[in-house]
């Protein structure tokens, strides 16, 4: 067999299917067949930065975008008032529809799924050659992809009680975690959390603000052209003083504050207790009530992730407008798990010290379905490549968010669960959701990831784009003529093409269409893409140059083995603090009390030099 994939989450499914698209044989091992395609946290795909990843996965003919559209019950384009580079299409999913879609795809692809617990890795020399199951079965493959999510030494916390588990009511993978530590991988602990789930039938919807699904939804997949499910509204409510009092009363039993949790949680997805402690002066925090399905009464209250004790969760929920008599179906919890420092990986996501073993998803310190799926695709494709003896598939950070994600992980590591933001890309104006296919589908096709159907559609769209662009470039007029056509642009006497006018004078699609009758036939999505191209065209060369310059980006993380020479010029006091507190980044070092700008400069210089040596 070619590729073994451990784990049936977003990373695992993309990995297995990517390997199969490339012609490899693959087997997926999971605790339970039934948990394939489960959305273990919030029931939504996409958003700002994340939708960029989904579109890229889709451009490589991956699963996630299509699954999201197949299961969508509420669409919302985040940032719709801002420019196309930062648009964030988001789809809330019906959990059961999502799972069903993923399962059908897995079955349709002919992927073999084995139920079992992986307890060890098989090795020959330092090459990983397969896995050992708890029942003693040995499975061998030329490449193994581990996508264990939060299962490695997973510990679930609710109030003062904690128990071993990989997700609620699913066992953790402790034996495998021990083996991974034995292998000598640098392992750390991270933490994430989830809110209590509510019974939607017990929510007073009249007391919360309704948020409707978008009228003209933006789909996650390039292949989607219609809304397949009935669309439902979400609710918006907020915490209040009473909620905050309830939370404060429960802090004594919070595993976050009692020290029971040592792992670092994500700052951008803090628990409600975190928010109330850190931002004590905020009178309220917004909560989105997201139904989890068309026929599922359960509701996900987005914004109150918590690991407070059950009775505190009850009191907290009851204090919120609309939730006064809401019934909690499942309590919120925090989960701590092992992750492997991704700096131990190559950009193919293959372990440097264990050839044949690829890691993808939360095991690499990321959070989020989209981040996991993107890594799964990269790991699966590279695993397939390895079985054929081919080199890694490179995703440049100037070309894709997938490239940004991989490069950030393997060169800088993580200090908290890593999530994609558009600000992570130096080339944001170019890496847009609208042109992900242009950027990646040809690459995917070249490596066999992109099937015929998508390739046909892509080629067609590209020819439309070329024709439309040619037309915009062929229409030209003097400023007077443009003014006569209804565009009040600056009269500088220079003859300009329609594309130039769009670009230099920020004339949008609608206005250029009304000024040029010959553009009437210009199709909307094609026109929108050209509008984005025109808008950003003047800025992209500068951004690209900066991006190239940052290829040699200074490391922001302090290497674990940073040597500080005796003559560094750092005072004994600072040295003491550095060795005691072991800051992982210059940011953390800067936060150390007594750290002077001069000391920070020295530290920065040391980090630069140490990475220069490593290069």
């Amino acid at each position: 067999m070619d590729v073994l994939v451990i784990g049936g989450g977003h990373a695992g499914c993309e990995a297995a299917l990517a390997a199969m698209r490339m012609g490899s044989t693959a087997v997926l091992i999971t605790h339970r067949f039934d948990s394939i395609g489960v959305m273990s946290c919030n029931p939504a795909i996409g958003g700002i930065g994340k939708s960029h990843l989904v579109r890229e996965i889709d451009a490589l003919d991956g699963l996630m975008g299509r699954a999201a559209d197949a299961a969508a019950i509420h669409y919302r384009l985040l940032n719709h008032r801002k420019g196309p580079a930062v648009h964030g299409p988001r789809a809330q999913s019906d959990r059961s529809l999502y799972k069903a879609f993923v399962r059908n795809e897995v079955l349709a692809a002919g992927l073999r799924v084995i139920e079992g617990e992986v307890v060890d890795l098989l090795v020959a020399g330092d090459v990983v050659t397969g896995v050992l199951l708890a029942d003693g079965a040995e499975l061998r493959a030329r490449a193994t992809v581990l996508t264990t999510g939060t299962f490695l030494r997973g510990v679930i916390h609710v109030g003062r009680s904690s128990s071993s588990g990989g997700r609620i009511s699913e066992p953790a993978a402790n034996r495998l975690a021990d083996r991974i530590r034995d292998f000598g991988f640098p392992v750390g602990r991270l933490k994430t959390g989830t809110p209590p789930r509510l019974d939607g039938r017990t929510i007073d919807w009249s007391r919360v603000t309704r948020q409707e699904s978008d009228q003209n939804p933006v789909y996650l997949s390039f292949l989607s052209d219609e809304t397949v499910n009935p669309q439902i509204a979400c609710g918006v409510t907020a915490t209040n003083g009473e909620t905050h009092d309830a939370v404060r009363r429960g802090l004594g039993d919070s595993p976050l504050f009692s020290g029971a949790i040592s792992g670092t949680g994500p700052r951008y997805c803090p628990s409600i207790e975190d928010k109330i402690v850190r931002f004590a002066d905020r009178p309220a925090h917004q909560i989105f009530l997201e139904p989890e399905g068309l026929s599922d009464p359960s509701v996900y209250p987005n914004g109150i992730s918590t690991s407070l004790p059950a009775e505190t969760q009850e009191a907290m929920v009851r204090s919120i407008a609309g939730l006064e008599s809401a019934k909690i179906v499942k309590y919120g919890y925090a989960i701590e798990y092992d992750y492997v420092d991704p700096r131990s990986l190559l950009s193919s996501l293959e372990c440097r010290v264990a050839p044949g073993l690829f890691l993808a998803g939360q095991i690499n310190g990321t959070t989020g379905y989209e981040e996991a799926a993107a890594q799964g695709l990269v790991a699966g494709a590279n695993a397939a490549h390895r079985t054929r003896g081919e080199g890694p598939i490179e995703f440049a950070r100037s070309e894709s968010y997938i490239g940004v994600l991989i490069d950030d992980l393997v060169s800088h590591g993580v200090t908290e669960p890593y999530r994609m933001f558009t600000s992570r890309s130096e080339n944001r104006l170019q890496l847009r959701p609208d042109n992900a296919d242009q950027r990646l589908t040809p690459l995917g096709r070249e490596h066999g990831l992109v099937g015929d159907r998508r390739w046909r559609m892509f080629s067609e769209v590209m020819s439309f784009l070329r024709i439309a662009r040619d037309r915009l470039e062929s229409i030209s007029a003097t400023p007077d003529e443009w003014a006569a056509a209804g565009l009040d642009i600056r009269l500088d006497g220079v003859r300009r093409t329609a594309f130039d006018v769009m670009s230099r004078h920020r004339v949008g699609l609608e206005r250029i269409r009304s000024a040029c009758p010959e553009l009437e036939a210009l199709e909307e999505t094609v026109g929108k893409r050209l509008e984005a191209e025109a808008l950003y065209a003047p800025y992209i060369p500068v951004a690209k140059a900066r991006c190239d310059e940052l290829r040699s980006d200074l490391p922001r993380l302090i290497p674990i083995d940073l040597e500080i020479p005796a003559n560094s010029g750092l005072s004994a006091e600072i040295l003491g603090k550095l060795s005691r507190l072991r800051p992982r980044s210059l940011g953390e070092a800067a936060a150390i009390e007594g750290m002077t700008p001069a000391a920070l400069e020295i530290l920065r210089a040391l980090v630069v030099r140490s990475s220069a040596r490593a290069a």
């Binding site: 850190r278 925090h285 917004q286």
Partner: protein, 440 residues
């Protein structure tokens, strides 16, 4: 990943160079820095004095056992040296032959070589002993000719500009955080999406502050390169006579024939610590002589570009075409006090020198007024980057499209970073998370 930074892997050479100007002098200083510095001293037979204690040593040629020189020797441990490396300084007698002989001995030692220009400073920089702005200003300090230049270079060296840039950068990063938060966390109740209202006023102030230093740089540049004071006025008003008096020698040909001065003649004087170039220009008049006319054009151009103009009054002045050269703060002077009193802010006798001291004081006072209040010194390169940073911030303020405004701000941060240090996305995200409560 970090291409272009390498070359640090090999063990460092030990470098040496004369730290004083080459040639004859009472003393010369040879500086040695690097891992072999102490063994270099040993090779010269100079026993090691305690660290940072100066001692007299006989320097011996290891080959011939000849005495090369008696020198004062001081050793610095790497923790207390300029370069952050073991260092030795030899104060030898200022003879080329002595220095050359010592160089021969040191150059023959394994791993020793003559330092490249600026290499000591570069090593100090790499060792984290100073930042870029400080390193740059060090070169200025060495070149300082006048007291004010020295003070300005010291201000740079002690890191005043670095501090200011750090503070600006922090504000820029804070603005970037607001912009980025409004892009990446648009759906969060805690994040304002109207960065224009929240951040732009401070950005405008920031641009003004950066701009002030960038243009205050004009003063700083003049401090180093000299201020220019153009003496302008009608022909035969005594301009060249004044210049000659200032120069203390015959710098310009003077005659009673109007139109004698056709090229620009420059004389350098130090006034109250300020280096000043006086420019004697062709008398400004309408002329039919082509050569003189060309001279007048050059004079007008130079006068317009000068830091200050002395408008020389003449009783029977041909004044046409002169007024557009008047700038606020210029001086009107009468130069023929020895002949008769005349109009103007100051009266001087160019011939006898009466009143020249008062004139010079008046010039110094006016030039010093140009120094920006609490001026931060900047080198030419730094001023250029600061100017870019200011322009970028202004563009960002004017831009409606937030994601494009961010591009401008990033450009601004980059320009500031080219003055000192750097920033990256983690800095911005840190700022975002410390200010906004984000997360549903």
């Amino acid at each position: 990943m970090t291409k272009g930074q390498g070359r640090c892997g090999a063990p460092q050479n030990t470098i040496f160079a004369l730290a004083t100007p080459p040639g004859r002098g009472a003393l010369a200083v040879i500086r040695i820095s690097g891992p072999g510095a102490f063994s270099g001293l040993a090779a010269l037979g100079g026993g090691a004095p305690p660290l940072r204690m100066m001692a007299l040593r006989r320097l011996i040629c290891p080959e011939t056992a000849e005495l090369i020189d008696e020198a004062l020797v001081v050793r610095f441990g790497r923790d207390r040296s300029f370069t952050g490396e073991d260092s030795v300084e030899l104060q030898i007698h200022g003879s080329r032959a002595v220095a050359a002989r010592i160089f021969r001995v040191l150059g023959a030692l394994p791993g020793f070589r003559i330092a490249e220009p600026g290499e000591f400073t570069r090593r100090a920089l790499l060792a984290g002993r100073m930042d870029f702005a400080q390193a740059e200003s060090l070169a200025d300090l060495v070149d300082a000719e006048t007291e004010l230049q020295r003070r300005q270079a010291m201000a740079l060296l002690t890191g005043e500009l670095s501090h200011a840039v750090s503070a600006w950068r922090a504000r820029l990063v804070s603005a970037l955080a607001a912009f980025e938060a409004s892009l990446d966390f648009a759906d969060e109740a805690d994040v304002s999406t109207d960065v224009a209202v929240d951040v732009k006023p401070d950005m405008e102030r920031l641009a003004a502050e950066i701009g002030a230093v960038s243009s205050g740089r004009a003063f700083g540049r003049s401090l180093r390169e000299g201020f220019t004071v153009a003496i302008i006025g009608p022909p035969n008003a005594g301009k060249s006579t004044l210049l000659n008096h200032l120069a203390g020698e015959q710098a310009a040909i003077t005659s009673a024939v109007p139109g004698t001065t056709r090229d620009i003649i420059r004389v350098r004087r130090e006034i109250a610590g300020l280096p000043v170039w006086f420019l004697d220009t062709a008398g400004l008049r309408v002329t039919t002589d082509e050569v003189e006319e060309a001279g007048v054009l050059i004079a007008r151009k130079a006068a317009a570009a000068a830091d200050l103009r002395l408008h020389v009054e003449a009783a029977d002045a041909l004044r046409e075409g002169e007024d557009d050269l008047w700038r606020d703060g210029d001086l009107r002077v009468w130069l023929k006090l020895d002949l008769e009193p005349g109009p103007g802010d100051l009266a001087v006798s160019a011939r006898t020198g009466d009143g020249v001291t008062a004139l010079l004081a008046g010039i110094a006072e006016r030039l010093l007024l140009r120094a920006p209040a609490g001026a931060l010194a900047a080198t030419e390169r730094q001023a250029l980057r600061l100017g870019e940073a200011r322009d970028a911030v202004l563009k960002a303020v004017k831009e409606d499209s937030v994601e494009i405004a961010v591009e401008h701000l990033l450009g601004g941060v980059r320009s500031l970073d080219q003055v000192v240090g750097r920033v990256d996305v983690e800095d911005v995200l840190d700022e975002v998370f410390s200010r906004f409560c984000i997360g549903k």
